[in-house]
Symmetry: C2
């Protein structure tokens, strides 16, 4: 499994996901934006805006290489002279407050020293948590994980709880999902080929997992108050991405392509000082579930 | 000049600024939110929302003390066992795109070792830069600086250019202003009393400096396109505050009061993927001026 083959399959996966998301949206088409990286490599960022279901989102592919910079050494602890990295990352912000925001990322790193690892994750951020849908989402992820290792779901589910957490709000970003990093044949207990297959299967199942969420919510009517709540939750999403997300911080610090990194931001977001939520509201019911350690399965 | 006297005067200054901003706004009144810090001290956050001129903003006072934490040692290079810090900070987001966003901060630090310093700054972020108004703003700041030291304006103006800069966008936040840190009798060349007077004068002149900007813009009619541009520029303001602003990052990391720290965020902000600006537009004229090193005076 060479790095070129991995990058190539990731690119094919991007195209596949895009065509399936266009069917899920039903109206909007993705626009393609190819870019080169001065130090080596490049990517294709595919963007959807003003769809019927998805208000703003992107499916990004990149395959970059070059010398290991000081920032990479200090922030990622990367040991080596040159690196190769390829990945697919997705964030989708729906219009309807009853459809969740979703994020997916799979990535592969390789150093000239021969060291390699896979990382990635999928997590769901409902504006309003529907417990049955949250369970369904986690069951879907567990099913994929279990095909590859009995350890994956428990370990990666905890990884998501820990990673998709906003310390300054003391809340999780949403209902979590899975998050993993530094997985190779030594750390994961499965072969490189199997790890690669696991990542591809996550990507392939991603449109199905999201569609199950979309069909539950896309036709629900919504009020002005629910839109306002969606916009406040988008504000939290912006906070997580700009303050806490390691990928975003590393990307911006290391001179990555700003527009591709920040495609994860919503079309809009709002903030209200010290917003008070009524005790018996459905908004508060959601807030109470934004915590680590809930066993959805 | 004891720390208690400084804190007390800062608190008086907060009240003074608030009453003058209420006159400038003409409709909205600030709401007061007092809070305590578990480790010692507390603050009063005063918030204005949905005014005639100011859509969202705050004038915050705090005076906190306690042991120097690991984060303070590593991120601020603070040497000592315990610290005292007091300050006033302000961010105002106006409704009208022809009125600039403004920020002011003055702060005083003291360590048990006896070391002390003042820091602070004022910077202006017009959605549309009017060169004459930018000049006027800088002349006003220079006038205050020159009363205390012939070195202040040049040095602190450069400080603002460097500090209020968004590297991942390669643009300054606005037209800058002044920014200074670690000023004491050794580093500034003036006495502690004079440094304190300088900070108080900045605070006292702040409402006048802002009012001069407000009266030029508040009655100008604006279009939907200009509102959209304002919202995009607010997005950049959010990016600076959450990604680049050291005060925000330190505050959130060190367990500061989240709502008081994030009072700097606008009521809303928008993002568009890779937004293209027409070459001969007034938006582009503003973008061209978002760079370091412009000599406005």
């Amino acid at each position: 499994m060479t790095k070129d083959k991995i990058a190539n399959q990731f690119k094919v996966l991007q195209a596949d996901i895009v065509s399936r998301l266009e069917i899920i949206d039903g109206t909007a088409m993705f626009k393609s934006d190819a870019w080169d990286r001065v130090e080596g490599g490049g990517g294709i960022t595919k963007i959807i805006e003003k769809g019927s279901v998805i208000e703003k989102g992107g499916v990004a592919f990149s395959a970059v290489h070059g010398p290991v910079s000081e920032v990479m050494k200090s922030q990622l602890g990367m040991k080596g002279d040159s690196f190769f990295a390829t990945g697919v990352s997705i964030v989708l912000h729906p219009i309807n407050p009853h459809v969740p925001i979703i994020h997916m990322n799979i990535r592969y790193f390789e150093l000239d020293s021969g060291e390699y690892w896979f990382g990635g994750g999928i997590d769901l951020t409902p504006h309003y948590i529907v417990e049955e849908q949250a369970r369904h989402f986690h069951i879907g992820l567990k099913k994929i994980c279990d095909k590859y290792s009995v350890h994956f779901y428990d370990s990666f589910k905890k990884g998501a709880d820990d990673y998709f957490f906003i310390p300054h709000r003391n809340e999780t970003r949403g209902i979590g999902g899975i998050f993993f990093d530094h997985q190779n044949d030594k750390t994961s207990g499965i072969t490189k080929d199997n790890l690669f297959d696991f990542c591809i299967e996550l990507g392939t199942e991603f449109p199905n997992l999201y569609n199950e969420q979309v069909i539950q919510g896309k036709n629900k009517p919504f009020t002005e108050d629910e839109l306002n709540w969606r916009n406040l939750r988008r504000g939290r999403y912006v906070e997580f991405n700009l303050v806490n997300d390691r990928g975003t911080k590393f990307g911006l610090l290391s001179g990555g392509r700003t527009e591709s990194i920040l495609m994860s931001l919503p079309a809009n977001a709002t903030w209200e000082y010290n917003k008070q939520i009524e005790e018996n509201s459905k908004e508060n019911a959601t807030l109470k579930l934004l915590k680590k350690g809930i066993q959805w399965v």
